[in-house]
Amino acid sequence: MKRFFYAFLVMVLCTGGLPAQGQLSGRLESFGNFFLRDSLIGAANTPQYDHQLYGAEAWLNLNYTIKGFEFRTRFDLFNNSNLLNPQDSYTAQGIGYWYVGKEIDRFKVEAGYLYDQIGSGIIYRAYEERALAIDQALLGLGLQYRLGDNWLVKAFTGRQKQQFDAYKSIIKGLSAEGFIVKGEDKKVFLVPGFGIVNRTLDDGSMQSLVSSLATYRKEDQFSPTYNTYAFSFYNTLTRGALSWYVEAAYKTRDNLSDPFGERVTLSGDTVVGPTFFQAPGSVLYTSLSYAKKGFGASLEFKRTQNFSFRTRPQESLNRGLINFLPPMTRVNTYRLTARYAAATQDLGELAYQADVSYKFSKRLRLNVNFSNITDLDNLLLYRELYSELTFKKPRKWTLVGGLQWLQYNQEVYYFKPDAPLLQAVTPYFDYLYKLSRKASIRFEGQYMKVGKDEKGELHDYGDWVFGLVEFAVAPHWTFTVSDMYNIQPGHNSPVDDQGNKLAIHYPRFDIYYSQGPTRFSLSYVKQVEGIICSGGVCRVEPAFSGVKLSVSSSF
């Protein structure tokens, strides 16, 4: 791999004096953390808090294009980083990505680490999400061919990236996507497509699976399969303001792991925990949207059954995922409304979502969203009703306010047995006032009121209040002060030595400075543990106490 990097450098350096022939661009993203132990909130007992004190992550991309060739590479750095495992420290650095691509008339060839997806990603999505430590690039070869004016056929084969290595299983696939114009007035657009993805399990993973199955009772054993195929058909139909997307996917029998599987052991005990089983899978996903003159509405539906698709069944959480299942909840951004996020359940989920927005005038706009997620046995996992009213005085101030009401299954999303269905109501506001052409001030306020369990204790951490003041002077400076206060501690709130629940403040101070494409930030952060999600893919974010520094730039 290093040879490719050096070849890239040599190519760039050799052509450096000939800027007219090629174009060099790049991007840097870097983060530094200084850890300040705070045992009370759980920011302790990791190597970083105990003795390392500092951690860093950085990514430097370099892209070079010349004569139809594309060369890309990326230097990745992890120094005492807690990104991969929040409880541990990871140190490694090197070339985490390289890519060479060339278009030859209708044909395109790509080699290296490939990012791509088929349809909405239900059978295949190779992507990167740094905040979640996800990098599912495929190390391999990709071919594309333009069939006529309206069809693009793609084929690929390779292995999934695993930090600076690659998993051993082979993933290969084929897709075709078209663009068809229909109707007498030529105003009906169809974007149909289909895809096939195959994963061939490597011998090591198969032997490991066989060894595990050898510890199962005969009636729980199954004949594991090396090859699994996933098929998907999808189409987007657009006519005027109406757009309808539908995707149906099927996966042949696959070796799966159920994190809540129940099994009788050889010793005769019944245990609940990760258990291998084998089943085919399916997903049906559709979304209908309409947008016209200040009115917008969308409806989404998804049914998922046994559609965990991984490079090997031994991987869990966000590791080794080959596909991506679209989330069925709105993306919340305020600190408290985003606290309880629903991770996509790939083994069984029945979900729908409706979203309506209406612009009454230039000043007033309303958005209402409702989402409901159950498992296939109709057990409620997540339900949310969200309203947002935006009131504006153009060029002077903007007021956003609303209410979130949700129900959240802690047993499933937090792996907490016997935890009650969490209920929370959160009113919020966000007020932006322009002091001058350059200066503005923004206030945020949220209050989360949660329900009580059978013992009369407040759910999870109890009630919260959050306040934020942000002062910005364009185009360079932004200062932010915020505090999240556990005003009524609940079942899981920290306790003192006498066992009394503590009402703790979680303050945060940020300074941002931008100079052209370069941005610096310095933050003091005390953060409660929680879950962070991106597109329904989530991970536990442990409590943090310390100072964060980030620098990003592009050129």
């Binding site: 490991s208 594991p224 792991s257 925990g273 047995p417």
Partner: protein, 284 residues
């Protein structure tokens, strides 16, 4: 016409591709029958490769009982070829308010720092080895059986004999560990660790069914007679040699000596921490 032909070709190709799948039969792997290793003591000369599994657990860890049950099944399959230690350390290890015992040990806390914290539970370390394709020695439950099978298939590079002398009157314990190198190991920096575990302790445990008061805790690490990462072996380990190491220990009154085991293992020092061989005997 051209468009119709191209779309037609595409769908004919797709049809051919789909119709070919039913014929793609593969030969499935054979699942070996379990319980093929009796759990009976054998002579050191007959000793096979014995594998160490160190499970990281805690009484507050809801998913850990499933891991412990998996280890019991693995012990049924591998018998004496597998030695288990359950280390109560990490975020889920503090005792519950109603717990009778605190299973945490100083060595356990040191070991979780030494080996790295788990990425989710259940988690265990197999022979302290960083296996190909893994970036941590901590392994999720789904990976234990495979790596144990892989390690158990190797030949032992050193064999271990353990003799114990326990006095009922004053609860004193003498441990004599003898190493039998099977090859020249003199160039390697090796450590000898000796640990005591206690089996069958009944106390509270959080499980998926809630708090269970009479949960049976297995293979609980109680103490170590050496440093947490082992004592340096200064004697040259050559084939034919048999260096002896002795230890004395006072068994605390609240331990059930009938359920205690003495475990000795040889491991590498440095970046690689691989365990070469492990052996266990009953304390009494």
């Amino acid at each position: 016409m051209k468009k119709i032909t191209q779309t037609g070709v595409l769908f004919v190709f797709l049809g051919l591709l789909l119709s070919s799948f039913p014929s793609c039969e593969e030969i499935p792997p054979v699942i070996p029958s379990g319980q093929n290793n009796p759990d009976t003591a054998i002579d050191v000369s007959q000793q096979k490769r014995q594998v160490l599994i160190e499970e990281f657990t805690g009484v507050r860890c809801v998913n850990c009982p499933a891991g412990s049950a998996e280890i019991q099944d693995l012990l049924l399959v591998y018998g004496e070829q597998l030695v288990a230690i359950s280390i109560h350390a990490g975020e889920y290890s503090p005792p519950l308010p109603e717990s009778m015992y605190d299973f945490r040990t100083e060595e356990g806390d040191q070991l979780i720092n030494f080996l790295g914290a788990p990425f989710g539970y259940p988690s265990a370390v197999v022979n302290r080895k960083l296996f190909d394709g893994e970036f941590s020695v901590q392994l999720s439950k789904a990976k234990w059986a495979g790596y144990i099978a892989q390690e158990a298939a190797e030949d032992p590079r050193v064999k271990i004999g353990i003799e114990t002398t326990y006095s009922d009157s004053n609860r004193s314990l003498e441990v004599k560990v003898t190493l039998y190198p099977q090859e020249d190991l003199s160039a390697e920096d090796l450590r000898l660790s000796v640990a005591i575990t206690e089996d069958g302790i009944i106390d509270y445990q959080v499980t998926p069914d809630g708090e269970v008061p009479d949960y049976e805790h297995r293979h609980v690490l109680r103490d170590m007679l050496t440093a947490y990462d082992g004592d340096p072996i200064t004697e040259a380990l050559l084939p034919g040699s048999s260096p002896v190491f002795t230890y004395s220990f006072q068994v605390p009154a609240d331990w059930n000596e009938e359920h205690c085991h003495v475990i000795a293992f040889v491991s590498k020092a440095g970046a690689d921490k691989d365990v070469l061989q492990v052996h266990q005997v009953e304390m009494k």
